[in-house]
Symmetry: C2
Subunit: 187 residues, 2 copies
DNA sequence: GCAGTACGTTTCGAATTTGAACAACCGGTG
DNA sequence: CACCGGTTGTTCAAATTCGAAACGTACTGC
């Protein structure tokens, strides 16, 4: 079949730009985090999510959701964090199978110390390079792209209502306004 | 120092969207490629670059440039490709130190066979989800982001002229219009 | 020519990532 | 109570990744 719809020049540029930006930004951020705080990016994300959870603890499964890696990887990451004393494991009281990952004091401190440098790196690599309207477009467009590839997600009630417009991309960044969430709270 | 400039809501959404899109798109494309053609994405990129080069051969170093991975990784990837007979190594006639990676006939066939599915995956995951103006914005903005983080690049003469505006992002996508470059040439 | 430095590529060891297989456990059914 | 499908978290081996060190070779000045 000759019917393949190839990419035109603009689409090609978008794909290439996406690929390169992806690779370089990720590397930049990861490196800063490693050098400055001894954390990998996945590990940092785990800390952020724990810090944003009530009591600083979360079940492995809940932690895995929205954390873009496999289950076994999460086990590994939490294991590493535990080895460094930033996280502790506790069995879940209501479900013997469940394990709660708990943020330790040291973990909270580490996150607090790491956050400013991380935000600076994110700004330097991405945010401060974008014009305000570009920022909005990227948030909207890439939010849609990500949401569309999200695993089917067991229907938590009427999940049909909100389609692909916006709305969904927001449940993502919310909930972390304390230590490492990098939200607005400067002066 | 209290002076950390945190991210406001829109910037946060952009960063989160970027992260999620990055992760999911990359996984989607990689999986399609692996299942459909038995190639990893880096390997596919190597093939594309070789196919776009005169004679289907390129020096390792030239191959490494713009291929967003470390040198040692490139050695590994080419090694894998060679093991499968898609690429052959040949020592460079003008510089004994240099090694040329040469695309074999089988490699060319494999690429030709893999390209349509790959383009389809890229479309499904990213391109077809974007409005035309979003596509342009992303190409421009992310192109700038990527270019800015590009390693200093040894000054190839007057490399000062073109700053960070546009211009640079274009030398990236060009040069691959044959087999797997997915450029416009349908009917 | 000959030291000294820069370049091109690979090798090495360690860290990370993944998918598949596993063991224990929930909830509901008969 | 024993069974069954689905969940939860871990373990295992294999593949991939990286950075640093190792090598052999090219250029440079003397």
């Amino acid at each position: 079949m000759e019917g393949t719809r190839w990419l035109d020049e603009r689409q090609m540029a978008a794909w290439q730009g996406f690929l390169e930006a992806t690779s370089r930004v990720s590397r930049h951020v990861e490196q800063q985090l490693k050098e400055d705080a001894g954390l990998s990016h996945p590990q940092y994300e785990v800390l952020v999510r724990l810090a944003g959870a009530p009591g600083g603890e979360l079940r492995m499964t809940d932690l895995a959701e929205g954390l873009f890696s496999s289950k076994s990887n999460l086990t590994y990451q939490v294991g590493q964090l535990e080895k460094h004393g930033l996280v502790r494991r506790r069995s879940c009281p209501t479900d013997v199978r469940g394990i709660l990952a708990v943020l330790t004091e040291e973990g909270r401190d580490t996150l607090r110390a790491a956050a400013p440098g991380h935000v600076a790196a994110v700004r330097a690599a991405l945010i401060d390079v974008l014009e305000p309207d570009e920022t909005d477009t990227i948030a909207r467009a890439l939010g849609r792209v990500g949401a569309r590839l999200r695993p089917p997600a067991r229907n938590t009630e009427e999940a049909e209502a909100a389609e692909t417009e916006t709305a969904e991309a927001e449940a993502q960044g919310a909930g972390s306004s304390e230590s490492g969430g990098m939200s607005t709270s400067s002066s």
